[in-house]
C-alpha cells in the first residue's frame, strides 16, 4: 500500500466507514492523481493560450510538400510543452463549444452550413484520442462515423455511397475516423482493386468534396502522422497492458512491412487531393497532446472564419415576455 493511501486511512476517523464502502484505496489513489493533474492544468490555462500561434497555416499542405520531410515529433505553431499543450486544449474548449452552438443555432433559421473533419492516419496514430479529447465538447451537434472495412452492402455500391450518407447535416460537425481516402490508401497498397480503378478515384474524390463544399460544408482534412518507430512503441504498449489487448491485432505487424508503400500512397493523396477548397493538414502526432491541440485549433480557425452570428428572433421579444409572465 502506498504512503498516500495509508495516510488516508489514518486521517479518516468517523468518515472511514462511509469512504471504504464507496471508494477503494486504489480508486482513491487514482482519483487523487487525476484531481492533482486537473488542478495543475487548470492553473496553466491562461498562460498556455499565449503559446498558440498560427497552427493551421503551419500544417497546411501546399505545392511541393514532401511527407517524409516532416518531423513527426514536432509541434508547429505551438511554443509550449506537454503541460501547456493540455492546458491550452482545456482553455479553448469553451470557445469551440460556443462556436459549434452558433453553427447549430444558425441552422434553425435556414442556414445550410456545416463542418466536416476528416481524420486519416496509420494505426495507433491517435485518431480515437482526437475523438475523445477534442470532439467531445458537444456530442449532440456532432455526427461521428468510424469507417471500417466495407460491408457486403457497401461493396455493392460506389465507394462514395457510404460516405455521402455520413456527411453532416445543416448545423452539424461531421467527423470521419478514416474515410473515403481508405479507397486510395489500403486499397492501393494491397491492390484490392486494379490500378485503372483506384487511379481514377482522386478526381472522383475532388469532385465529391467540391459538391459538399458547394452545398455549404467546410471541409478540414487531417493526416495524423507518426513515425514507424513511434508506431512500434505504441503497439508494444498494447501488448504490455491487458487493458489494451483488445486494440491489438496480429495483422497490425504485417501491415508494418508495407510502411514505405503507405507513405507513398499518402504522398499521392496529398499531391492530388489537397485542393484550395479542401486542403490537407499533416499533423505531427508522435506527441498525442500536440495532435489533439492542433486539430482543435484547425476546427477553431475554420469556425472563426465562418463569422457565425446568433440568429435574430423571428418573434416579438417584448410580446413574448408579457405572454410568458402571464402564463
Amino acid at each position: 500500500m502506498g504512503k498516500g493511501a495509508k495516510g488516508k486511512g489514518k486521517k479518516s476517523g468517523k468518515k472511514s466507514g462511509k469512504q471504504a464502502g464507496k471508494v477503494s484505496s486504489k480508486k482513491a489513489k487514482e482519483l487523487e492523481t487525476q484531481a492533482a493533474e486537473d488542478e495543475v492544468i487548470a492553473a496553466h490555462e491562461e498562460a498556455a493560450v499565449e503559446e498558440i500561434q498560427d497552427v493551421a497555416n503551419a500544417l497546411r499542405v501546399g505545392k511541393g510538400f514532401v511527407l517524409t520531410d516532416v518531423d513527426t515529433s514536432g509541434t508547429p505553431g505551438f511554443s509550449g510543452k506537454k503541460l501547456e499543450g493540455k492546458a491550452a486544449l482545456k482553455a479553448c474548449e469553451a470557445e469551440l463549444s460556443d462556436l459549434l452552438e452558433r453553427l447549430f443555432a444558425e441552422s434553425t433559421t435556414g442556414s445550410k452550413r456545416s463542418l466536416l473533419l476528416v481524420v486519416q492516419g496509420m494505426d495507433t496514430s491517435g485518431k480515437g484520442g482526437i475523438m475523445r479529447h477534442v470532439i467531445s465538447v458537444n456530442p449532440q451537434g456532432v455526427k461521428a462515423t468510424g469507417f471500417k472495412a466495407p460491408t457486403k452492402e457497401e461493396l455493392a455500391h460506389d465507394f462514395l455511397w457510404r460516405i455521402e450518407k455520413a456527411l453532416p447535416g445543416a448545423g452539424q460537425l461531421g467527423v470521419f475516423d478514416r474515410s473515403h481516402y481508405e479507397d486510395v490508401l489500403i486499397v492501393r497498397v494491397h491492390d484490392v482493386v486494379p490500378e485503372a480503378i483506384w487511379s481514377r478515384r482522386y478526381a472522383q474524390i475532388n469532385a465529391f468534396e467540391r459538391k459538399a463544399i458547394a452545398a455549404g460544408t467546410t471541409v478540414i482534412k487531417v493526416m495524423t502522422h507518426i513515425s514507424k518507430d513511434e508506431q512500434k512503441a505504441r503497439l508494444m504498449e498494447r501488448l504490455d497492458r491487458p487493458d489494451k489487448y483488445y486494440k491489438y491485432n496480429p495483422g497490425d505487424v504485417d501491415e508494418r512491412s508495407h510502411w514505405g508503400e503507405y507513405m507513398e500512397a499518402y504522398q499521392a493523396v496529398l499531391d492530388k487531393t489537397s485542393t484550395v477548397g479542401a486542403p490537407w493538414h499533416v499533423v505531427p502526432a508522435d506527441r498525442k497532446w500536440y495532435a489533439r491541440l492542433a486539430v482543435q485549433q484547425l476546427l477553431l480557425e475554420a469556425l472563426r472564419g465562418m463569422n457565425l452570428q446568433w440568429p435574430q428572433a423571428d418573434f416579438d421579444v417584448e410580446v413574448e415576455k408579457k405572454r410568458l409572465s402571464a402564463s
Copy 2:
C-alpha cells in the same frame, strides 16, 4: 474597459503585439474567469466525491410513487452544494470513460451488451445540458439520437419503428433525447391519436423494452423534473439573451397551459412503465448541476453492476512481442 484588461495591457510589454492579434480583451477576460473556475473545481474534486451517496436508489420509481410530491429543487443522494456537485461530476468523468471503454472492448470479442439512457422531460428541463456535460466523455462509443416531431416517413410506420433503429449496437451507449414516451405524452395531452390507440402503447412499450433487455441492453430511464416556475424563469432567460433566442418558440408558452395534463401523463408513464427490468428515475432538475451529476451516477451505477472485464488476448502475447520487435 475593466481593471483586469487594463492591467493586462500594461504588463504585456513585448508580448503585447502577439497577444493583441490573438485574444481580444473580452475573450481574455472570459478565459480568465473560466480558468479560475476550472481551478477551483479541480481543487475540490477529491472532497466532493465523498458527498455522493446512493443516488440511483434515491431516485428510482417504485410502487405508489407520486410525481407531484417530488421537490424539484432537491438533491437526493448528494450532500454537497453546487461547487461540490460540479467537482464530483468532473472527478467521476475518468471512471465513466473507463467503464464505457470496457463495454466497447467487450463487444470486440463477441459480447452483445449495451446501455441505453432514455431522457424525457418538459421543455427547458436540461436534457441538452446532460448530453453536453455527462455524455461527452466518449462520443465515438455513443449513439445519441434526438427525437423531434415524427417525419412523414416515420408516421407511416408503427411509433416504435424509428426507436428500434436508434437502439445502441453491441458495446455502445445509446442516448435518447426524448423518445418513444412522447407517443404517450404529447400525443396523449393533445389527442394526436385516439385514446384507444395511445392507451395500448404502455404495454407495447414494456414489451419493446423487454425485448431490448433480452438482447443485452441495460435500460436506464430518466425524467428530468422541473417546476412550472423554474420553466418560466428559464424561458425568460432565453428571451433576455440574444444568444438564446434560437431556443425559444412562442408555442412553448401555449404548452404551459397544459402543465397539469402533462404531469398526469408523466404520472401514468411512471405508473405503467417503471418495470423491474427498466425502472424510471425522477431526477429533480431545478438545479442543473445536480441533474447532470445524478444522471452520471445512474450511468456509473449501471456500468459498475455489469462487472465489465477487459477481454482476454485471442493471440499469443509473447509471440506477438517478438514479431513486433523484429518489424
